[in-house]
């Protein structure tokens, strides 16, 4: 039984509930947050092993969340899967966001199946001791 804790930041409630079901059925514990603020609070409150992040979120967006999260020593090494509707080409202009903020993997949400998301989580899990 895998007991890794996943923090899912997904602003769409319906999509979020689908991802939560899928991940929980695969044996993961999932905390679902709709905003960056609640996600930071969740990081404070619980042990988190993997973050799945949508960049396009209201108020404080996912990029802000990434910078905020990575500014704390205790959260430096938590793997992040960017699972987002933002096309990767739009991210290229930035000073290598993935490298600077240690985002482990990028998944383009409109083209990613639930199985691919699950496979990615499994792949990241292998490198992340529970």
């Amino acid at each position: 039984m895998n007991t890794l804790n996943i923090l899912l930041i997904e602003p769409d409630r319906l999509l979020g509930s689908i991802y939560v079901s899928t991940l929980e059925n695969a044996g993961y514990c999932v905390v679902h947050c709709l905003t960056a603020d609640t996600a930071i609070s969740a990081l404070d409150a619980e042990r988190v092993d993997i973050v799945i992040l949508e960049l396009q979120i209201a108020l404080h967006n996912g990029v802000e969340f990434l910078y905020e999260m990575r500014s704390y020593d205790e959260w430096q090494h938590i793997p992040i899967i960017m699972h987002t509707i933002i096309d990767e080409r739009r991210l290229l202009h930035s000073v290598d966001l993935k490298k600077q903020l240690y985002a482990t993997t990028y998944l383009y949400k409109p083209e990613t199946t639930l199985q691919q998301l699950l496979n990615t989580v499994r792949s990241v899990s292998v490198q992340t001791p529970a």
Partner: protein, 231 residues
């Protein structure tokens, strides 16, 4: 204890102890300063105005014995809140803060503050394409660092011509005539306009240059990389 009131823009924040942060602030008249901000950790507390990124702030601080001062109060003057509604603009705004942080010493010229403020205002205006802002920002950083290209004469000292194609000698920062050079009078004219504009918004009024903007952004970015510590 000496207390100073000034205006500033937060460039970076790092953690200090359990609940405090050290903020790096570019001020309008006190250079770049580092301040201890107490009890402002985590996103919920940074929402309090004054230490928010992408904003100008009225800041009061106590000068420390060392290089670290203590933030007494911060009041939000202008928040460029539209920036964070767009992920690409947010990423670029972070890049701009990082670049400014890299190129400024402890006592940078006040112009750096003005450039940063104008750039954030430009990014905040969603109708201005980011390439206008990038070009304006890079040209003005080049100007401040003393590495502007020669936009008047070529490597032989002759006046730049309307019909001539050019390459750029990065060493001399001067255009060099070349039959298949990628730059022409149109590029040079836009560079002049970028240097002459006092804000990205002004540059954005120049129409029909969208096609050559990406190459000029790349050119000016490469100039910066060649002549400063920016990577």
């Amino acid at each position: 204890m000496k207390q100073i009131v000034t205006k500033g823009i937060v460039l970076a924040r790092t953690n200090y102890g359990e609940a405090d942060r050290i903020i790096t602030v570019l001020t309008v008249d006190q250079g770049k300063i580092r301040l201890l901000a107490k009890g402002v950790r985590k996103i919920k507390s940074r929402l309090a105005g004054g230490i928010e990124l992408f904003s100008t702030n009225d800041i009061t601080y106590i000068v420390g014995r060392g290089e670290l001062g203590t933030l007494v109060s911060a009041r939000l003057e202008k928040n460029y809140g539209t920036i964070v509604k767009d992920v690409e603009r947010t990423m670029y705004a972070y890049d701009v803060l990082k670049l400014i942080n890299k190129v400024t010493e402890d006592s940078p010229e006040p112009e750096y503050y003005l450039i940063l403020k104008a750039t954030l205002a430009g990014i905040n205006k969603s109708t201005i394409h980011l390439d206008y802002i990038r070009l304006w920002f890079y040209t003005h950083l080049l100007k401040l660092s003393g590495h502007s290209p020669n936009l008047h004469s070529d490597t032989s000292g002759a006046k730049l011509e309307q019909t001539q194609a050019y390459t750029l000698s990065f060493e001399e920062m001067t255009f060099c005539p070349h039959p298949s050079g990628p730059f022409n009078a149109g590029h040079i004219k836009v560079l002049r306009l970028a240097y002459g504009a006092d804000s990205p918004a002004k540059l954005a009024h120049v129409k029909q240059i969208a096609a050559i903007l990406p190459s000029l952004v790349q050119l000016t970015k490469t100039m910066l990389q060649q002549h400063t510590n920016i990577r």
